[in-house]
Symmetry: C2
Subunit: 451 residues, 2 copies
């Protein structure tokens, strides 16, 4: 990398994305003699690990999605731009972003791509309208509307069959997000909504967790997985392992269990079964001889997290593929710290050839199952229950951005976990009941009846 700030202008760093990778990359350049432009397609930094609490009415969007430009307001060397990145040119060193009708081309000397991943339906994209994922605040609000709307619709309908369908909730995928959201749907039904209906009893809702693998929380090992499973089952969640989803439609889903297909009629389906990296991964890899993307679309980076032939282009976070680094906040943050360290060192004369390879330090992982119960893995230490839940609480508070958000989150948890209230049960007209899914379902039926 030639550092050309001797040409009278400062070294320009462009960062794509405002998640953990993008935000920590910007912060890592706080005191550096560079001009930073952070381009993201949302105006906020999303604290994704708590998104399920927005979907289930505990937190508001504000608490987990502070405005990126307010976080970085005092960092005078950094500009935040809203826009969809539609082009990256590794030769010309430009990033093209689009906002409404305007295209804007930004030139970089160093590029940090932290564009993240979205939900993957493994080629069955038509599942998406019926079973939204949990990746954006739009997803979370959509799911909040569907989950609470299902109870409302069950109260109104006079058909016993439809009532049962409305009160069946299915979460597909038993990773941390799946486990957390299924646990909160169960607690919402059993505690928060108890006694609030007259024709139905929300505590009779059927809550199902479906996983293709043979254990809950596969990456955390069989012991913690079993612990989480037992806890979920104690809460009344049906856990179906070794079960594949073969079709999803408006009325429910078809699953394959022990070699046989059968139907589960249900209104609310939540998809947390896999991720697909941003298409920017392939866009970059295609411009670099010898750089590939893996099956999930992640860029197989060099040991210094760059793409072959372009030591000034770092790919970090969920968009990078590095063996042993999970797609979690820790990986993204460490990648950001590593990339900005190299940039800063090279501004002071170091050479890209001298870079030491990126090394991931696994600080452990955790997942909450319900109030007062979590599972936690730190190195070889594994533990669950209340102690793990306290660890979860402390860690999430530490990483939430902004003291206001911490205080409101603690207060909201106090209300929900010690009491049974939830402060964010409001749903908008636009999001109530999956109007989109219903419309798509009608479109499909119409097409069928025409075709």
């Amino acid at each position: 990398m030639t550092v050309d700030n001797n040409a009278g202008r400062r070294h320009r760093v462009v960062i794509i994305g405002s998640g953990f990778g993008g935000l920590f990359a910007a912060k890592g350049l706080k005191r550096a003699d560079v001009d930073v432009t952070l381009i993201a397609k949302t105006t906020h930094h999303l604290f994704q690990p708590l998104l399920y609490q927005v979907a289930t009415g505990i937190l508001s969007v504000g608490e987990i999605a502070p405005a990126t430009r307010i976080i970085l307001r005092k960092q005078r060397n950094t500009q935040v731009l809203l826009g969809d990145v539609v082009g990256i040119d590794l030769e010309k060193k430009t990033v093209t972003s689009k906002l409404l009708d305007w295209e804007r081309v930004t030139t970089y000397d160093s590029l940090i791509v932290a564009a993240g991943a979205q939900q993957s339906y493994f080629g069955n994209d038509h599942f998406e309208a019926f079973a939204p994922g949990m990746k954006t605040v739009d997803d979370a609000l959509e799911l909040r509307g569907r989950i609470l709307g299902a109870f409302e619709a069950a109260e109104v309908t006079t058909s016993e069959e439809e009532r049962k369908r409305r009160l069946t909730f299915v979460v597909v995928g038993a990773g941390p997000t799946g486990v957390e959201v299924v646990g909160q749907i169960a607690e919402l039904a059993d505690r928060t909504l108890k006694g609030a209906f007259r024709s139905i009893d929300p505590t009779h809702a059927r809550v199902i967790l479906i996983e293709a693998a043979s254990a809950v929380l596969p990456p955390m090992g069989p012991k913690l997985g079993l612990k989480a499973q037992r806890r979920l089952e104690k809460m009344g969640v049906e856990v179906k392992l070794n079960t594949m989803v073969t079709d999803v439609d408006y009325m429910g889903l078809t699953v394959k269990e022990d070699g046989e297909e059968h139907r589960i009629e249900c209104a609310v389906k939540v998809w947390s079964a896999g991720v697909q990296a941003s298409p920017l991964g392939k866009l970059i890899a295609d411009q670099s001889d010898g750089t590939e993307v893996d099956r999930a679309g992640r860029v197989v980076v060099e040991p210094d997290l760059t793409v072959k032939g372009h030591p000034n282009v770092f790919v970090i976070g969920d968009l990078m593929s590095v063996p042993g680094v999970p797609g979690m906040a820790q990986g993204a943050i460490q990648g950001a710290v590593y990339a900005t360290k190299q940039i800063k060192a090279e501004l002071k004369g170091a050479q890209p050839a001298d870079r030491k390879p990126f090394k991931y330090f696994n600080k452990g992982s955790m997942a909450t199952v319900s109030r007062f119960s979590a599972v936690c893995q730190i190195g070889k230490i594994e533990f669950g229950g209340f102690l793990a839940w306290l660890a979860w609480l402390g860690l999430h508070l530490y990483y939430l951005v902004g003291s206001r958000n911490r205080i409101v989150a603690v207060y909201s948890w106090f209300i929900t976990f010690l009491g049974r209230g939830r402060g964010q049960l409001a749903i908008t007209e636009r999001w109530v009941f999956a109007r989109r899914a219903l419309e798509q379902s009608r479109d499909q039926s119409a097409q069928k009846s025409i075709g």
Copy 2:
């Protein structure tokens, strides 16, 4: 009204609406020997006087829109149903509501219609896509997306003209809502967003309040109106009185001032210039000989708030037209208390003929202009400034539902008014920048170029 609970079943009261009128009607029947069904088209009770704080990023939806069924959970004689009322039959005494594909018919002995009002564009309904009102949480979130999105777009664009347009904010109508939202847009630009951009200076935003009458806050009298106007002008708001809006489109609006038409190019337009009662008003009036609706569609009710010939059908809140009763929370609450009192008295043997006419007790009115400054009118006492603001603070806290919401609101006000932070600046992808307006504008241009 024949009370037929001697026929072996309880007297049935149906309430339409979950605003101040509907909620207080339900609460008024808490201990009555009746079965209450409250039918509303949203799942929440909206505290509309604070909606402008959702639009400007101070409060989340949850704080001002608690779930109606949770508020009424312990009131065992009351069922809450979500649905759009699509029919009322005064002869058969039935209400037909619709939710998705299900219609449901509910029979009543007494009916309380509190279906409220929506924004009125005085026959120019095509203004709506470009200048949303402030009546629902959807409206408030739409406006939040537009207001914050306009600053984002101004930061990105390289056209000086477009930047100016993006940074021009127009509020139409100088009633309490208009004054409050225009004041908060000014404070958002001047305080919260100050220093958060690099290409634009948000404190240079042009904020305009347009009013057709000759004073700000017309119903509060010239003295308080002038006080509010002076305060707004001190904050940099341009107040244009005696100014009519003659057209609204994507790029801005056309106004008539001193007999001359001219354009104001602006991205964000907020409409708070008038209300139109729910169409249920006309639906009812058409079934009652001698009952009319006024120009705003409100039902001109009898002295006991019922419609002629149907002493069991009360119309209250923004849907009723009673001389001297403003379309505010107080009027709706007092109407609800009055109606439920008659129902309860008649259950114990009183006759409709004995009803004393409804009498409105004017507790006064108020509007905040900015932090630490409000105007307040209680009977003949008029005052403004900090004292009025404290009165505003106390009153709004008193009427907010739920201790959680009160605590979070106070904390949020502390952050925003003493500090300059706002906890709810997050906007969703769906709401960022008036995509709807842009699309409609394109549709219209396309039609023009075709036609």
